[in-house]
């Protein structure tokens, strides 16, 4: 029997519960690293959104709203986008996904992927609209489109890795 008050148990508990936050933070930082691939225009990947979607859908207790808020702020600070934009859009995505969790429960991967596509469209349009409002003119929509397509394409890869991480985290919990 595990002693729930031992310091080892607590340490383990904290480590398990902070893993999703740490992964999301790491992905937001990695997004900033320049790729410099020849013949490819510079693009952003919404890796932070992938992580937020996954954990909001499967285990929101492990990535609370406050963690999403701070991840969003970090994203804005590193990318040089208006502060609060990332926090607001990620929190919106988080709220939508958490409220629709029951629908996705036990559904196949394709449905989950479709859900991510919808979320990514909503977030992309929201961010584009907010930035356009702030700049007082319609900013180019092309880059948002490319970011959306690439992020949706990459979802299965990261989703799979998250499943592995998630399994190893909940093995004993």
């Amino acid at each position: 029997m595990i002693d729930r008050n031992s310091s080892w148990y607590r340490l383990d508990y904290i480590a398990r519960h902070s893993t999703p936050f740490l992964i999301t933070t790491a992905l937001v930082i990695i997004t900033q690293v320049p790729l410099r691939l020849p013949n490819i225009a510079p693009v952003t990947l919404g890796l932070g959104l992938i992580a937020v979607y996954y954990w909001a859908l499967h285990q929101p207790e492990m990535l609370p709203a406050v963690a999403v808020f701070f991840v969003g702020l970090l994203q804005d600070m590193l990318a040089g986008t208006p502060i609060g934009l990332g926090a607001f859009s990620l929190l919106c995505a988080y709220g939508i996904v958490v409220s629709q969790r029951r629908f996705f429960h036990g559904k196949s991967f394709l449905v989950v992927w479709w859900g991510f596509t919808m979320t990514a469209i909503a977030v992309g349009v929201l961010r584009w609209g907010l930035v356009s409002m702030m700049e007082g003119e319609m900013v180019l929509f092309g880059p948002t489109m490319i970011e959306f397509l690439l992020t949706v394409t990459l979802y299965p890869v990261f989703g799979y890795v998250f499943v592995l991480v998630h399994r190893s985290l909940s093995r004993e919990a």
């Binding site: 930082i29 410099r36 510079p42 693009v43 808020f69 600070m77 590193l78 040089g80 607001f88």
Partner: protein, 301 residues
């Protein structure tokens, strides 16, 4: 999650739900308030932004190196396939450059001769800092890059960021060991330029795409495709004559400029301090530089 603590949790769950929902709304409105605050006063979060960026800089620096190696290898492999073609092109270019070198030598000696005649006092030499690009925003809404040099290395707001082929942008924010460069492709970038051959003035305006436009051209002026665009030196941010790009296909909305460089693609960048304070830097620096400029001879223009 499995309920660990039985009936207590069953009671507590609805209460927790309400608190969580409240916390969520609180955070959502918090984020919105932050956007509005930042919009009202862009300086308000600058210090936090710079401090956080400084903290993450070592991580980005470490992560950017292996990726740079990967892209080097890819480039290397690609260049191997077109070795013959490149070689022929380079031979031609070399022959042309030798002619230019001769012309330049003649001009240098002529220039020195004329300066001696005029007892000309040359400008202070610009100081430069070289830095590695460690982060880029990717350009969905902003075009900027992060570099791994900051105040400690002598980087200051408003300095021009260059690579050997042309202008990249200018320093927008400075931390202790990192700085953010606003690229000339960014939506908020406006640079006074001139057409090199005709000296026609214009403003180069970024729109987040790779091809910024020329604004404020008089209606009767047409600019030929292929004309070189260089900085004009107006506004005191950049010195005159830094190469920017060439004019692309003219269209109804105005001339498009093909830049000499793509800011996000470069690995190293040179920051030049030309001793120009510009319209962007802090007030005290401006007055200091203004006083210094007043003592010296006026600018060449």
């Amino acid at each position: 999650m499995k309920p660990h603590r039985g009936s207590v949790l069953r009671f507590a769950a609805p209460v927790r739900n309400v608190t969580q929902r409240f916390a969520y709304l609180f955070l959502l409105f918090g984020a919105l308030a932050i956007i509005l605050l930042g919009r009202a006063d862009p300086q308000i979060f600058e210090r936090t932004r710079v401090a956080v960026t400084d903290m993450v800089t070592p991580l980005l620096d470490a992560a950017s190196r292996p990726l740079a190696t990967v892209s080097d290898v890819v480039n290397e492999a690609r260049s191997l396939t077109q070795l013959r073609k490149d070689n022929a092109a380079l031979r031609l270019e070399n022959a042309r450059l030798i002619q230019w070198q001769t012309a330049a030598r003649t001009l240098i000696s002529e220039n020195e001769e004329l300066r001696r005649l005029l007892s000309f006092v040359p400008d202070d030499l610009a100081t430069s800092v070289t830095a590695r690009v460690i982060g880029d925003s990717g350009g969905t809404f902003v075009r900027n890059i992060l570099i791994n040099a900051g105040r400690r290395a002598g980087v200051a707001k408003g300095q021009a960021a260059l690579v050997s082929t042309g202008l990249v942008g200018r320093v927008q924010e400075v931390g202790e060991r990192s700085a953010r460069i606003l690229l000339i492709t960014d939506l908020n970038s406006r640079i006074p330029v001139v057409v090199e051959s005709t000296r026609q003035r214009a403003v180069l305006a970024g729109d987040n795409s790779d091809r910024p436009r020329l604004l404020h051209l008089p209606g009767n002026v047409t600019i030929a495709k292929g004309e070189r665009i260089v900085t004009s030196g107006h506004g005191g941010v950049f010195p005159p004559g830094l190469p920017v790009g060439i004019v692309g296909q003219p269209s109804k909305t105005g001339a498009i400029v093909q830049l000499f460089i793509q800011g996000e693609k470069v690995e190293f960048i040179r920051l030049m301090d030309f001793g120009l304070s510009g319209v962007l830097s802090d007030l005290d620096r401006r007055t200091k530089a203004g006083r210094a400029a007043g003592l010296k001879k006026p600018a060449k223009q």
